[in-house]
Every structure is written in C-alpha cells, then in structure tokens.
Symmetry: D3
Subunit: 253 residues, 6 copies
Amino acid sequence: MIRTDGRDVKQLRDIQIETDYLMHPEGSVLITVGRTKVICNATIEDRVPPFLRGQGKGWITAEYSMLPRATESRTPREASKGKVTGRTMEIQRLIGRALRSVVDLESIGEKTIWIDCDVIQADGGTRTASITGAFVALTIALGKLSEDKKLPLFPVREFLAATSVGVLENVGVVLDLNYEEDSSASVDMNIVQTSSGEYVELQGTGEEATFSKKQLLELLEFGEAGIQQLMDVQRAVLGDLANKIGERGMELE
Amino acid sequence: MIRTDGRDVKQLRDIQIETDYLMHPEGSVLITVGRTKVICNATIEDRVPPFLRGQGKGWITAEYSMLPRATESRTPREASKGKVTGRTMEIQRLIGRALRSVVDLESIGEKTIWIDCDVIQADGGTRTASITGAFVALTIALGKLSEDKKLPLFPVREFLAATSVGVLENVGVVLDLNYEEDSSASVDMNIVQTSSGEYVELQGTGEEATFSKKQLLELLEFGEAGIQQLMDVQRAVLGDLANKIGERGMELE
Amino acid sequence: MIRTDGRDVKQLRDIQIETDYLMHPEGSVLITVGRTKVICNATIEDRVPPFLRGQGKGWITAEYSMLPRATESRTPREASKGKVTGRTMEIQRLIGRALRSVVDLESIGEKTIWIDCDVIQADGGTRTASITGAFVALTIALGKLSEDKKLPLFPVREFLAATSVGVLENVGVVLDLNYEEDSSASVDMNIVQTSSGEYVELQGTGEEATFSKKQLLELLEFGEAGIQQLMDVQRAVLGDLANKIGERGMELE
Amino acid sequence: MIRTDGRDVKQLRDIQIETDYLMHPEGSVLITVGRTKVICNATIEDRVPPFLRGQGKGWITAEYSMLPRATESRTPREASKGKVTGRTMEIQRLIGRALRSVVDLESIGEKTIWIDCDVIQADGGTRTASITGAFVALTIALGKLSEDKKLPLFPVREFLAATSVGVLENVGVVLDLNYEEDSSASVDMNIVQTSSGEYVELQGTGEEATFSKKQLLELLEFGEAGIQQLMDVQRAVLGDLANKIGERGMELE
Amino acid sequence: MIRTDGRDVKQLRDIQIETDYLMHPEGSVLITVGRTKVICNATIEDRVPPFLRGQGKGWITAEYSMLPRATESRTPREASKGKVTGRTMEIQRLIGRALRSVVDLESIGEKTIWIDCDVIQADGGTRTASITGAFVALTIALGKLSEDKKLPLFPVREFLAATSVGVLENVGVVLDLNYEEDSSASVDMNIVQTSSGEYVELQGTGEEATFSKKQLLELLEFGEAGIQQLMDVQRAVLGDLANKIGERGMELE
Amino acid sequence: MIRTDGRDVKQLRDIQIETDYLMHPEGSVLITVGRTKVICNATIEDRVPPFLRGQGKGWITAEYSMLPRATESRTPREASKGKVTGRTMEIQRLIGRALRSVVDLESIGEKTIWIDCDVIQADGGTRTASITGAFVALTIALGKLSEDKKLPLFPVREFLAATSVGVLENVGVVLDLNYEEDSSASVDMNIVQTSSGEYVELQGTGEEATFSKKQLLELLEFGEAGIQQLMDVQRAVLGDLANKIGERGMELE
C-alpha cells in the first residue's frame, strides 16, 4: 500500500527553512513543507499584556492567518468578515502555548514576542509547519535580544517542532499528511515535542471515528521520528545559535 | 500525598445527572460534577447547515457559555463584548465533534441537533462535564426523534463520556481536577472515550511545561478508569434508552 | 370567564424564591413564577463606571439574558450573533433603574453592584420576575457589604417588586400574564412598585391597540394587589435582613 | 413658582410642523418643539420583514438618530462606534409600536413604511416630538399610497401625538419638559395618546425616585391637555388629509 | 448641446450658505448646492488624538453621513449595519485632509476641531459641497476660538472650496455635476483648491473609461472657474472674518 | 541635490515580476519594486455580485492587506481588530476601479475576478505596485479563461500600470517614492495610466501643503515616464499573452 504522492508511510515531505526572509522583523522565516509555505515573523515589543504587568516576566503570543488563495478555492478574508474563525483562534492559541513551553519567560523581562504565521500556500499541516518555523523565527529574535541585553544564558531551553500523523483507511498510520490525505483521514493527530522527547501538545481527533490505544502508540512513534528530522533542519539553519539552546538547562543541572 | 479536597488521586468527584431539567428542550439535563454544574439542552431543528444540504444526512453542533458569576470573580458576558472568545470556540468545536463521533448521522435525516451547554457554576472540568451531560441530553432527544420517526435502529452507536487528568507537582498524576488543581497543574489532559474504550479526543497540554511518554500512559490509565464510572451514571439515568445504544452496531456485526 | 390555566383574573402564579442558589455570587437567587425561572446573581465590584468616579457614590447596573432553550423554540445566542437585541437592552436598563430607586447609593461608596438575571425557563413575565428576584439577591449582597463595612444604616430604603397586568379579549383585566396570555393580550403593562405603594416604573403598551383611563385604573389596582403578595414572599425569604430595610427611612423621619 | 423659560406649568413650547421638507421621501416633515428640531421621513418599501411574508399585511418600523452636534457637547456617532445604543433602540421600538397602533395594517398590503426620525437639534422631548412629527409624515405617505391604490378607505384610524410630563422639585407637575428640566426632574413620563383620548403608551419612570397615584393622575391630566393642542397643529398642516383620518372607524360603526 | 437642467457647461448650480444654522455647535452651516443640502458643524474639543499628544499642535478631523432618505431610494443606516462603508471613509478622510491644508495647526494648540457633514438631501456633489460648507463652519469656530484666546494672527491661511467636473458623452466637459449627470459621466473629477489657485486635492477617475491630458487640462480650467465663484459666496457670508483669512500669510511675507 | 537611496529624481526603483508564484490561483504574481513586495493573486468565481445579476456582464473586485510585519513596526491585523481601516478600503476600491477600466466586462460573462494584493514587505508605493502586479495576474487569469471559453477576442484592451510621484522639499519633483521619501513629501500623487497614455486615476494630495499647476504638469510628466518602463516589464513577463492585449481595440477600429 502506497501514498498518493509516492511517499513511504513514515516519510516526511521535503522541508526547507529560509531565514532572514523579510527585512523588518526581528526574526523572519519562510518554511516550506512539501507544497505548504508559511511566513513566520517574530516581533519584539517592549511591554506585556495587562495580566502580566509588573511581574518582570515576558510573554509569547501568536497570530495565524491564510492568504485568501492559499487554498484551492478562495477563502474570504477574516478582516472582511469582521471576525476571526474558531479554527484560527484554536491554532493561534496552540502556537503561542507551544512556544512558551520551551522559553524561560522570566529571563526575557517585560517584553512580548509576537509570532505572526501567515500561510501563503496551503497543502495540509499548516499549523504544525507554523510551529516548526515559528520556533526558528523566535530563536533568531531572542538571539538578537540576548546580544543586546548581554544575557548570560540564552532563554530557549530546548528545540521544539511539530508534525501531524493520522490514520488512513486501507493504508494505516502515516506521517505528515498532505491536504488530500488530511481530508480523508479517519484520525488526525498533531504532536508538538521537544528535543528531549517530551510532549508539549498532543491533539488527537477522530473525524466521525475513533482510535484504539494500539493505534495511539503507533501514531506517537511515527510522530517522534518525524520531529527528530525536523529538528535536524532547524539546527542546520540556526547555525551558532543552535548551540546556545539548552545552555540554561545545562547550567541548572 | 493527598489532594486538597481529600480525594484519592484516582477518585472522581460526586456525579449527578438530573434529566428532564427544563420543560421546553427535546433533551434537558443538569449535570453536577463536584461543584461544577452545567445545563445541557438538546434541540432538534428541521434543517441542516448549507454545506450539508441535499445529502440526506444530519448534523450535531454545540454552543457553550458560562453565566457571568459561574466563576469566582465575574466574567463579562460575551454578548456584551460582542464576540465569542477563542476558549469558547475551542470548547464548542470539541463538544460537537465528540458527539458526532458516536452518532450515525445518516440515519437521522436532514436535521440538526443543537447542543447548548450553559455552565451555571464552575469549579474546573466544565468542558468534560459538558460532554458527559450533553451525551445524555442528546440521547434523550434522539430517543424522541426515533420514536416519532419509528426508526428501526437507534442512531447512537456507543456511550461517550469525558474527564480530565493532569499532573500536579508533589502529587503526580490525578483524575478529575477541580479548579484549584487545574490552575496549578503542570500538565492538563482532556480525554473523550467511548464505551468500547476507543478514543475520540485526546488533548494534552503542558502549561509552560512538558510531559514524558511514561506520564502519558499513566494519564490515559487514570482517564479510562474515570470514564467507565461516568458511563455507569449515564446508563443509570437513561433507563430503557441505555439498552438501545449500540443496537445498530450489533446488527451490523 | 376563566383563564386557560384555571387562575382567577386577580391571581398570581405560584412563587418561589430560593436563596444561596449558587456558591460564588455575593447574592444568588433562583426565582420561580409559575413556569418562569430566573437565576438572579448580585456581584459587588470595587469601582464605579467612569461617569461616577470621584463622587463617593455607588452604582447598580443589570444584565439580562435567556438561555437559548428557555423558550419554546430555540433563540440564537446574542453572543453568537455578536450583538445584544433592543429588547434585551430595554430590559437591562429597566432592571437597573428600578433597583437604583430604592437604594441609597451614597451610603455604599464607590462600588458597583452588578445584577445578572439569566432566564433558564421562560413562560411570560421574565422581566418582572427578574426585578422581584434581583431585589432579593441585591439585598443579600448589600447585607454582606453592610456587615463588612459596619454601616450604621442599611442602604435599602424599601421593598421593591414587579408584576405584569394586561387586558385579554373576552376576559378583561388580568394579573400576572403567562406567555400564552401575553401573546394574545391587547394591552400589556409592567408595574414596579415599592412597599409604600409608590410607583417606580409604569410601562403600559397597546399592542396594535389602545386603552382607556378606566382600564388604566383597573390595571393599576390589579398590579398593586399582586405586588403586595410578591413582597410577602420576599420578606419571608430575607428573614432578619427584611427588618433592616427601611431603617434609614425611619431614622430620617 | 415659575419655570426657567417663563412658561406656565401646563404650557407647551412653540410647535411648528413644516411639511414637504425634503424632496425624496414619500412623506417628509420638520417638526420644531421649542428648540428641539426633528426631521421625520416616511419611506414606502414594497416588501415586509420575513416574519410577515405571505400574510397580506403591512408593517411600520422606525429608526431614530441624532446628529453628533444636536446636543450641547458632541455625541460620537453610533455608526463610528459600530453599534446602536440601548437608548436609541428603546426609542426606535417605541416610535414604531405607537404608529402601528392607529393604522390598519391589513389595508396597506405587503408594504413596509420606514419612519426615519433624525434629530438635528435637541433640547428635550426628542422622542415625543419624533412621534408627533412622524405621525404627520406617515399620514402624508399613506395619503400618496392611498391615492395610487385607490383605496376606498384611508388606513389611518385616529390622530396620534405624544408629549412628556414630569415632576420638578419645588415646582410640581409640569408639561413638555425642556432639556434642563428633564435633567433635574424626579419623575419623567412619556404619554402617547389618540384623538379619542385612548392611551397607546405610558412610560413613567422615577429617576432614583418614586411617584404616588395622586401624582400619576395629575401627570395624565397635564399630558392629555398638551396632546390635544399638538393634534390641532397636526390637523392644520394635514389639510384635506386630516378629514380622511377615521373614515374607516366611521364606516365600521 | 445643453444639459438636462438647462445649465451651460461651465455653470454652477445655485449656491446658498446659511450660517448659525444650529444652536449648539461652535460653527454651524447649511450649504445648498442646487438640490444638495449639507449641514456642516464644527466642534472644538480640548484634546488631540493620541498620536499628537504633547506636541502642542492641533488637529482637524471630519465625519460624513447621509440621512437614509437623502437619496432617491432609502439607504440603510451605517449605524444599523454596524459599519461605515468604504465610500464614507474615503470622503471623511478627504474632507479632513483638505481642511488641514489651509490651517496653521500649530497656532491652535492641543485642540481637535471635529467637522460633521450630514447630508440631508443629495443630488450629486455631496463631498465637494461638504468641503465648501465645512470651510465656513470651521472658520467661524476658529473665529470664536481666536477671540477667546486673543490669538494675534488668525489660523486660517487661505480660502478653500471644492467642486466636481466631469466628461459627459455627447456634451463634453461640464462643471458641477448633479446626480443624474454624475451617474452617466465617463470621467469624474473632484478638485479642491485654495484662493491662491493652488491645488490641495485632485481626484480624477475614469468610470470604466479613461481620459486624455487634453481633457485633463480642460477639466482643471472648468474647476478653477467654479471654485472662484464658490469662494465669493464664502467671503460674503463670513463678513468680517473673511478679512482675517490670510493675515498670517501676509505677515510672513 | 540627490535622493537618499542615490537614485536620480526621474528614476524608478528595480522592478521584478515573478509569475506563477503560488500554485492555486488562476493568476499569481510576486511583484518587487525596490524593497516593496506584493503577492497579487487573481481568482475566477462563477457568479457576480447581486447588483449585476442577470446582465450577462462580469465584475472585477480587489482586496488589499499587509502582513503585520510588512512594516517597520508591527501593525495590528485588521481581522483581530474586527474591521478594515479607511486606508485599506480606499486602496481596495482604487485597485478594482483601475483594473475595470481596461477590461471588456461584457465579454467575460457573469464571472467575478477577485484580485488579492497582499503586501509582504512595505517600503512605499504599495498601492501602485499592487495595481501594476495585479494587472499581470489578472491578464494571466483572463488568458486561461479565454482559452477555456475559446473567446474570439481577448478581453483586456490596454496595458495598465501605476506609480507614484511627489514633491520633496529641497529636491523638487521625484518619481517612485520610497517610504522615507513618502513620509516627508509635501505632495504625493498616484497615477494610473494605460499604454495609450490615457489617465485612469489621478490622485494628488497636498500633505498639509498645496501644489501649483506648474508642479502638477511636471508630476504628470515624471509619472508617464515611469509608467512606460513598468509596462516594458509587464510586456516581458506576459510573453505571448502580451500580444493579445488590444486585439479587441484593433478590431473595432
């Protein structure tokens, strides 16, 4: 049994991460996962949301959007409709939460890092590509902040990447679903993991279907394999910055 | 190590499900989980959303809200603010998706079942209580529909219930977190399962933290134990209707 | 001529007021008028709206909402539609204004009392039931405030209750209309009165119809009779607090 | 005791009603009550709202607005704020309801009459001036409709006008309050009456105050006197059309 | 070839500017251009928008609206729809920008002048009539401000007026288009000019058509002729204030 | 006197137009003008807006947006704010109007072409770059439509491009302003022209300043020179399609 794009069940699509993609943001990345393309920008703002003021702690928040023709047929703009859909909100919250889990927010002071993930072309897996790309943009922005503030230790504790896994009828468990696969999958799971193999988010959903514990374990195994490869790409593009990730952890041991 | 409300780590709070709670809805339930109270109403509407028209298939959708003083301090109404928060949207989508996974939508025809979950008192676990209560309200409403339409087989395939599990520092894995526990948990997971033990939704989140595979497996075990008890309560209050659940499955075997 | 539910023209429906209904609010009441059920919660907030700041005076404001299935057919949520209807705004303003008329706002200091009236089951008279129940929730909350601040005199000057009266074709003037009666009445009047018999609000409306002065006087007489009975129930459930109402008035005489 | 503008307690301000004020509307009036000026336009639209379709009956609906500088200090536009205030909604509903009470909606067929009341200068009593002026604009528009459709009987059954009455400290009951009086009145009542002396709307409100039945009766007497004078002005400007009002009533006797 | 209303191609419609039109605003004008009527009010507010705070400089901003029946068929209110259309925003920005170009904002201090242009009757050219009328209202308001603050020099540097020109098939270039002409014109241009003949705004648009440089020059010539006449009317109604315009310029020479 | 980026006053920035930029749209272009980058996508939809239904004629409409970090500091998303700004609406309307002026809308039948211009990096001139790029995307999409429908003549009548010109203090008139220049220019003019030299839009604005006729003529001359060069780039990237533009015009002569 083979996948429609010829991949093996446990094979990721081609990954590229282009850094310094745009000129203005503190961190800017174009991530390409197969035919999915997401611009991930990180902005450093010198204040925190009201609920954090005066605590000396930073914040990371994310926004996500798709160009109207990122998709096969045109999706009306949320700005024109005057409201953000539930799907967008869910994804924005997921990206922000995931990134916060590997950053030492105390050490960055009262700053907000805004992450903007704009999907310019969609072929499945836009939220996981957003997390994987956003991690790189965030790390670059924190690298600049770290230099400017001469921080003794780098605030990023671990690598973070995400992928999707799922169950396809007649195929079984597969890694990194494209749009066509995602539309027909009976189970869909997004996994966000760190370089030490810890889970940050696990969102598994049966689409008018259910899944057994045996399937769950296989899904997790496929996901872990993919995430390790994604981190290899992240490490390569980050260069010297990659070595600073986890300094903090080492010190604390 | 003991929990602040004296429960054992693997112990649910007291559960009550009062049926026929309000006079107008086709199915109406007040579910009480510890001090959390949710009114779950099911409404049958004789049409489906535009994307399903003409396919002869039904739909289940959910809305979720909290009274302003369901919470310790007053939460402003979403109606007054003119928009629904991301958290509310996430929960609404979860409830709808979960319920659709155990109902044969073809057999109910072009009808929409609206599920309204209104939290009147909140002490943690409102979304999982909503699912557990909504399943009962939905089943009652479908029971009436089934009688009226003289359906040969009942459209509900399995029982469905949900609970939360989490990791508390100095305590470890616990079942069914109350609000105080939920606020301090490093890991929080919502599990939706069917009576055959299959997963419908699994949403695990590290709150500025992560979790290992070993912890994941313990979380799943605790969740399963709690869900079986919740289904005992559902079965008891549904009476004869409980016996009709799964008829369809039996026939198809 | 008799009413469809068998009541006499000048007879109220059964009234129950359950206090301490929810755990979080400073005052919490479930009022039942026939089959109409409203949860009335009072919240004390330590600040006033901008237009009152720095005047040393308090404020009372109200919000009103119905569960979607409080009604015979499902009413879409105002939060989902993104705006509050004119009917809701009218009722919210009425409740707030009525309650403010019997409270000495100077004596409570720069605090806002939020009144939330959430109709969980509707069968006519929801706005008058809201006022009658909200008065009790407010008095309980002010009782707690009064104790904490050791106020020499209680800020509530008089009892306050409300009912509806109307003109039914073939029946004439009736007291306390249920939904069916309300829908067919040619004249509908809401009366809010104090324990000394003074009017606070009088809102009489001909529904594509008009009414004479003679009918007006009869409507007022029926209303007054009903309101006295409602105050008997309020007095009974308030217990000792009931005796503090009007202290202020006595002193000033 | 005399009023600040020198009027007697039972004296209306100067009234002018200019017909054919604007060129486009089917009925267009500028009503001036003292320094309050309202443009009242009536538009005939060839369809009814969804809830009336197919019943062969017409509808009358009203919208109300103020120019930002109709008032002493500038009021932000509702369009700029993106929502209509509760006060505006209350007034719109009142105007529409009042006008519908004196028109035979069946006889006008499936048409909507839109009434637009735009206050260009405000000095108290804008809602009652709107009703009094709108009645004239509506009658003129129905006059044109009646001619075109060669209706045997004119659909307006009675004259309709409105005024305000109130209680001023140190003065007592007064008729037709200007803005300064309205701001300091302890009781404020809007009265809408027909030419036969029947009430259509009665909205009496204690402003952090209450009123007795004795005061109520005096308020009603003052209101009735004012409304008769307003109808004299309406009759004068309507000319021949005035004679057609009530034809229907006469026939039915 | 003659125009449908009998005017010569280079002839303005009748112009009237009535000052002191409403009682509350600091400057209030009713401008009539043919059958187009616009109320232009100027309000002085003692603060500036956030982006200007602390710079000691003033601001001028404009809002524009039409009564629903200013037009041939009724236009729904922007307040009821909950948003302002693109056309309205474009016009508001144009009016504000145009007025700011002839006022010395430094000399008025940290104040905002709000310009409200409310079209009560529309027959083409409402935005240019708004600018021409708003200039007069603004000058009157600044006259009052100038007197109160005893400013040595008047802040208005030049007269400012606006008109439209266009190309009509079979007629050619025409000045001051009415609604009927505007609807059928292939080219439409709004010109805002000062008394020294300088351009402030030039907005020429081919309506599914284009225009040559030769036509452009003729359009500009027609516009200039019209604007000079509009300024004659402005000068006449401003009386003594007219002489103060440009004082500043003279001094600086 | 020289420009800050070293260009001659009459020199465009570097221009690149990359076609087939994204996979889904019928026409997709990335236009780069100096450091300004805009993705222009064209979508063909098989229906027209309500006001055109049943006329057998097509429509072209445009939407414009900027990524939050297209700009130096982050601009909040319009979707998050829930409304589109006046600036965005103005630009959207301009792009749509300009494109419609060179397309034979009758010949494309009842279809809407949606143009989406998404600025990913902004350094001045985003609206004119959008028009120049959108023309190419539109032509490509119409090329596909034309092939599919075997249209005898191509619906695009002329080339269309846009640029900005302005007046810089101490420099004078310049072509194609970058962001820094645009911020300090006293006059700013956008010019949209066709290949035959006809004007489609001319929008000249004094920024708290004015401009003379002499300056206007120089601005027009500079603009024309730039637009001819932009059309050379358009022609080059369109290849064979370029030859089809204007077929229609030739036939009609």
